[in-house]
């Protein structure tokens, strides 16, 4: 009997084993991005921009050129790279603390300039790397090490929805929020990444895919519970949809 390999570790990732905690969905997202780069033939011309967060070492994993950026500044670093190497495929990989908090100005203005880069935005509603502090994306009532009594709306406001916010910016060409909580959604997420890189390579402007992701360790749950929690609590607040698709005309503006 012959066999055909239907799934194997992608060449888009190095041999290096992930340092992520067991069951952390960062790993799934890494795989998807790497697969897309390989399948689209972009890997060799790609530059990954790693941010500061648990994915700080993503430059060790993506099997292409890479640049590690200061906390929040990945879109600016990516802009510098893309402007001088316009034919390369430049993407950032950023957490929600990195992108939605300290890096707000940089992400807004990369979108504003219509910078031809792709942003992989991993929203796990917490600061993973530093041990579980509140992020702008932390849900109301969610306990973190700096919202020990649960996030309180009156003191800290309500969670920020980044994709919705960026959708108001003309230079944002493709924006979608996806999830990786089951194989169906994983497949869909991969399609979205493909779309985002297509937009970049056609120089249509800024593209970003927001991922609903987990942080079992800092959420204080096991991996499966985390996935369930994300599905039941995050997705209702952070709906999965295409927020902007300029390839179909200037919607949502």
């Amino acid at each position: 009997m012959n066999t055909k390999t239907v799934y194997e570790p992608t060449k888009g990732l190095t041999e290096r084993e992930f340092h992520y905690c067991p069951g952390c969905t960062h790993g799934i997202i890494h795989k998807l991005v790497a697969e897309v780069l390989v399948e689209k033939g972009l890997l060799e011309k790609s530059v990954a921009v790693a941010s500061v967060g648990c994915s700080v070492f993503s430059y060790e994993y993506f099997n292409c050129d890479a640049h590690q950026a200061p906390h929040g500044r990945a879109p600016a670093v990516a802009t510098g790279i893309k402007r001088v190497r316009p034919d390369s495929a430049v993407f950032t990989y950023q957490g929600d603390g990195d992108l939605a908090s300290i890096g707000t100005a940089e992400i807004v203005h990369a979108a504003h300039r219509g910078e031809n880069i792709t942003v992989i935005f991993v929203n796990n509603a917490i600061y993973g790397m530093t041990g579980g502090q509140m992020a702008p994306t932390t849900l109301i009532g969610q306990k973190t090490t700096t919202s020990p009594f649960g996030r309180d709306k009156t003191l800290t406001g309500e969670p920020l929805r980044i994709s919705e916010m960026l959708a108001t910016i003309p230079g944002a060409a493709y924006l979608e929020r996806v999830s990786v909580h089951d194989p169906k959604h994983i497949r869909k997420a991969k399609k979205s990444i493909e779309k985002a890189f297509d937009v970049q390579m056609k120089k249509q402007g800024f593209s970003m895919i927001e991922f609903i992701s987990t942080c079992p360790v800092n959420w204080g749950m096991n991996p499966m519970e985390s996935i369930e929690w994300a599905k039941e609590n995050m997705i209702p607040y952070y709906p999965l949809k295409v927020f902007k698709d300029k390839t179909k005309g200037d919607n949502d503006e």
Binding site: D65, P70, G80, A105
Partner: protein
């Protein structure tokens, strides 16, 4: 080429273009706005990159990206804007990338004022960012020298894979003076940067990574020692300075930038009056030209540091002096540009005091 009359900021911008600057990223701030303005007019026509960033923080990080991708990248700003770039500068130095930074200094602290100042000496030479790193820091005194240095700075940055900073005070940025843009040595073309992460990972040697991270302390220490080697090389090779009439001087000024120009006038006048003054003019402020002090003859009585600050360089003069000569300081701050007469008066008061004591 004949000399052309140019405004300091525009001359710097043009010099950067001549120096092979591929990309500029900056954010407006007085008194350096003519640099980005000039470049916004001229970079495009040369197929080069001009981006007005959303902030100084973003600008230095765009420089970080462009430099990492192998381009000759430039940013310019002024004092508080440089403060905002400190984290990024520390990353660039840590990642061993070349780039050029221009600081057209104004009075501080805080917003302060917008008149010429040298009160960024510390933030330029001691590093306002975290960690054990240094910038190669130049402080030219006139436009010709500024233009020459800027052209050369791209080569130096590439050679050392380290940021080079050119600190001029607002006066140099705003003044006009004739310059010969071809007087400076022709800038080398940027050598192939085999380490650049520019999206060609099918290169021989495999993929390239730009990072400042070394989580293992022993590894980070090795990295720091590697950086130190470069700094030691700079200390050995790049100390630049001018000795002005120091041979027989009793009093030796130490002054850089606009202050040195003004002090030159004072030297001239005082010499005419028979008072033996001379000057050490640091051209690099990091590495600080300690060698100059070793060249001084034993007959020197006093070193007089002159600054447009409350004595920031004076600390380096103290250290370099190492107890050899008497020290004195005269400075103006807050954007006040002193007149040669003030220096002359100060020297005369010094002499009187000595006479009377």
């Amino acid at each position: 080429m004949a000399k052309v009359l140019m405004k300091g900021n525009e001359a710097m911008a043009l010099a950067a273009i001549e120096g092979g600057c591929d990309a500029f990223f900056g954010y407006p701030i007085t008194p350096q706005n003519e640099i980005p303005e000039y470049l916004s007019r001229h970079m495009g026509e040369k197929g080069r990159v001009f981006v007005q960033a959303e902030s100084e923080v973003a600008a230095i990080n765009m420089v970080y990206g462009a430099a990492g991708a192998g381009a000759r990248a430039l940013t310019s700003s002024s004092s508080p804007g440089i403060a905002l770039k400190q984290e990024g500068i520390s990353y660039i130095a840590g990642s061993e990338l070349p780039c050029v930074i221009i600081n057209v200094m104004r009075g501080g602290p805080g917003l302060g004022g917008i008149q010429p100042s040298q009160a960024d000496y510390n933030q330029v030479t001691k590093g306002g960012g975290n960690g054990d790193y240094h910038l190669l820091a130049f402080a030219p005194e006139n436009l010709q020298e500024t233009v020459n240095i800027i052209k050369e700075s791209f080569d130096l940055a590439d050679y050392y894979r380290n940021p080079v900073i050119i600190a001029v005070d607002g006066l140099l940025g705003q003044m006009m003076e004739p310059v010969d843009l071809e007087a400076a040595p022709k800038t080398e073309d940027a050598k192939e940067k085999k380490w650049a992460a520019d999206g060609n990972s099918d290169r021989e040697g495999g993929r390239n990574v730009i990072t400042s991270i070394h989580l293992d302390p022993l590894e980070l220490e090795q990295h720091n020692l590697k950086l130190k080697k470069k700094y030691d090389e700079m200390r050995a090779k790049e100390q630049r300075y001018e000795m002005i009439e120091t041979d027989d001087a009793d009093i030796v000024f130490v002054a850089y930038g606009s202050m040195a120009r003004i002090a030159r006038s004072a030297v001239k006048t005082l010499r005419e009056e028979g008072i033996k003054v001379g000057m050490i003019r640091p051209v690099t402020i990091w590495p600080f030209p300690e060698k100059a002090f070793d060249e001084l003859s034993k007959s020197v009585k006093t070193l007089l540091t002159l600054e447009m600050s409350l004595g920031q360089m004076h600390e380096d003069v103290r250290a370099a002096n190492n107890g050899r000569f008497q020290l004195d300081f005269y400075g103006r701050t807050g954007g006040v540009v002193p007149e040669p007469e003030e220096i002359i008066d100060h020297v005369k008061r010094m002499l009187e005091k000595e006479g009377s004591s």
